[in-house]
Symmetry: C2
Subunit: 195 residues, 2 copies
């Protein structure tokens, strides 16, 4: 594979550190060292730490929304397929990027404006489609609760991984199995909850 351009090396290093440690705890010199570039190049390419950060947030949030929005708002995909596909895709994506949920949720709290336009599509397109499909499936739950329950059941294990692992509920090496087992049951759980 091609060697990374300087710009790509910086984004990659910044993404790793920002998602792991947050904005304030990540120092520009650390990013430069991780990316193996001179400190000044960071400002040369991205202008400032803040602009680099926004780039990283945009990339990572995009990655999460790409998984969800097209599936949820597609009328041709059944509700079950949606739940199964989203559970599958998210579980896989989050296993590869375990730090993502907390990073995004944290960021969403601090920096709300940044997210408004990025998530406009979800608001606009997905809600009416889901509403219709819930009725067709005889589910009496609101769209709000449906999506909250779905995300809750998929993502919470990742958000609370440190709690789950260090409290001894699940061994570190068993975590992937744990979430993969849960993933399989999510449609079953959703139907039971919203019988």
């Amino acid at each position: 594979m091609e060697p990374l351009t300087t710009e790509q090396k910086i984004i990659k290093a910044a993404s790793k550190l920002f998602t792991q440690k947050g904005y304030a705890a990540t120092k520009t010199r650390e990013i430069a060292e991780e990316a193996d570039i001179n400190l000044a190049l960071l400002n040369y390419y991205f202008g400032s730490k803040e602009r680099l950060y926004k780039e990283v947030v945009k990339n990572n949030l995009g990655m999460l929304l790409e998984v969800m929005i097209p599936i949820l708002s597609d009328e041709k995909v059944s509700l079950k397929e949606k739940v199964v596909t989203i559970a599958e895709n998210y579980t896989q994506l989050l296993l590869e990027h375990e730090e993502l949920p907390i990073f995004i949720l944290n960021e969403w709290t601090v920096n709300e404006d940044l997210f408004v336009d990025i998530t406009r599509d979800a608001r606009l397109f997905a809600k009416p489609v889901i509403e219709k499909q819930l009725k067709e499936n005889g589910m009496e739950v609101s769209v709000d609760d449906f999506i909250a329950n779905l995300l809750s059941l998929i993502m919470f294990s990742f958000v609370a991984k440190p709690l789950i692992v260090s409290s001894g509920l699940v061994e570190e090496g068993e975590f992937a199995n744990f979430v993969n087992r849960r993933k399989e049951k999510i449609w079953e759980w959703m139907t039971k909850i919203n019988q």
Copy 2:
């Protein structure tokens, strides 16, 4: 009521800022200003920013565990009572301290050692009791999944509040109603899931 001592004023201000913005983003001068005390007093009473931080983490984590451990490990409390009481207490506590879940989970990821002894009791006492009660209730779920599902259904709304609100699923002013409605259904959901 008594006026706060200098020490209490510092803890209060530090707790507010640390939980809102995290360790690195919170500056000692901010804490001093928020507490309306001189900067040097912070080091006079707590030695350093780090020691003050650990004090804050200990207080806040303690607050969360106090709600859970005594209830979970009490053999005289039925499983339903446990779920209902924990859902009730957590929802109320978290509505008053909405920033707590993300702060604790974040902290748990970064600073795992700090939590090991604080959570020892939970590991030791709660697990066998719950195991027994699950059997008695004919629930075939593992203790792991049971607690993960319980916490998941209660806490996720708070963790994902920014996502839920800014995506338009729930209005800001309706959030308390939203979690209170969910709270009432948690035992029902838990029994359905683990029928």
